[in-house]
Subunit: 259 residues, 2 copies
């Protein structure tokens, strides 16, 4: 019987609202057993880009990362957000360490090839240093991982946090019974983006295909759910999507299953 | 007989000039035996502060850190500079990890009390988590530490990198034969700031007192040298101050000794 490991990916406006952010981190600290936090920080990065006179560019919810944008991404993800999270977790007696994919070769990636869209300095995950993660977890240290990787040749690469969470969950499922939770600013997957009461509580693979066909699931939600099904097909035990209460909430969230 | 440990503190314009920075990191990667890098990044932080319309405030070479300044400090020190260093070291096959004082409770500090000057969100070092450093070193992982600490109650604090380097060196001298090198944008301690030919090759404690009296050593150089003598009195084996060649250079630098 494998031990339990909870992997939470947090993003969206949860990181922007100080109150919600602190409640989320408090809930996270109280999770029993081993845990890992993966975060992005796109909105905060965009705000700094605008303040510095750089126009944020996104296509289909994915950022186009030129050199200047990458610098701000590194500053906000690996700097401000990552260290704010870790200092809050330390306050809550959750001994944690902030990491990017560069540290200890945690996430090796390949710069995305240019097809129809040039995403710029964006990396697709090749290898995660699971040994290092296992060493930290066995020393009761909680990894807090921001969404940056590197190519091993000195280039840092912006990498989708949802993809990091799902790839990491798949790798860790060799050692643990992994529960993956995506936490953002909505109650879960909604059939009407304006109504939180339109929460879809269960989505399985065939239902997902129908929801895409009916254009109920669109845009950025598609790669997020693709990541979920990829993870479930490759050994991850359970996946849920919800707001900052997804950790403790027993009722209101979206549960993703294969069947 | 203790093993050798080299601790390098890098700062000043070494971090700003891409060519010099890469040469420095190449030299650092080639150091035989265990090593630790400590860095600041004040000039880069100041540049971003100015770009964001925030006026950098310094008194006697030490930064006054309000909340907005702290955010930029965290972004540049723990984000941009720290991860750029680590990604360059990985390229040079030096397996490293970027850390702030928040990570794994590495540096616990106390917010400086307000006497004649209110330094703001600045921390004076109370405790360094040496066990964690020793674990990393014994796994052949090189720590790259930026100059931030925390109070354990959720507050990140700006902390002088020279002080971190000297305190860390003192603590590590219980386990290793520690050589501490301060690397900045001058050849060492100069008697005439405009002439690198005025390098003072050796300074001992009594000579130091004389140089202060004669006002040859002034301003920011005084706390730097105070840190050196503190370290030497408390077990550190050797200290030198020089430019980016201080790692490999056998001739041109300032050697600090007690006698």
């Amino acid at each position: 019987m494998k031990n339990k490991l909870t992997i939470i990916k947090v993003g969206g406006r949860v990181l922007n609202d100080k109150n919600i952010f602190e409640k989320f981190l408090f809930n996270f600290s109280k999770i029993n057993g081993k845990k890992i936090l993966v975060h992005g920080g796109g909105i905060i990065a965009s705000n700094y880009l605008i303040r510095l006179g750089i126009l944020p560019k996104l296509i289909k919810g994915r950022r186009i990362t030129d050199e200047k944008t990458l610098d701000i991404t590194i500053m906000t993800y690996a700097g401000l957000i990552n260290k704010t999270i870790v200092s809050n977790l330390q306050k809550n007696n959750c001994n944690s360490i902030g990491l990017s994919g560069v540290d200890c070769n945690l996430i090796k990636a390949k710069k995305r090839e240019i097809n129809d869209i040039d995403y710029g300095l964006v990396g697709d995950i090749e290898k995660i240093n699971i040994n290092f993660i296992n060493t930290l977890l066995s020393n009761n240290i909680t990894p807090v991982i921001c969404s940056l990787s590197h190519d091993g040749k000195g280039q840092i690469l912006n990498t989708n946090a949802d993809s990091i969470a799902s790839h990491l969950s798949v790798e860790m499922s060799n050692y643990y019974n992994v529960s993956l939770k995506y936490c953002f600013d909505r109650a879960g997957v909604l059939s009407d983006q304006k109504k939180s009461s339109s929460l879809i509580k269960n989505i399985n693979l065939s239902g997902y295909k129908g929801l895409i066909k009916e254009k109920i699931i669109t845009d950025g939600m598609i790669p997020k759910l693709d990541n979920c099904f990829y993870a479930l097909r490759n050994g991850v035990n359970s996946i849920s999507i919800g707001d900052y209460n997804v950790i403790t909430n027993k009722k209101n969230y979206t549960k993703i299953t294969l069947d």
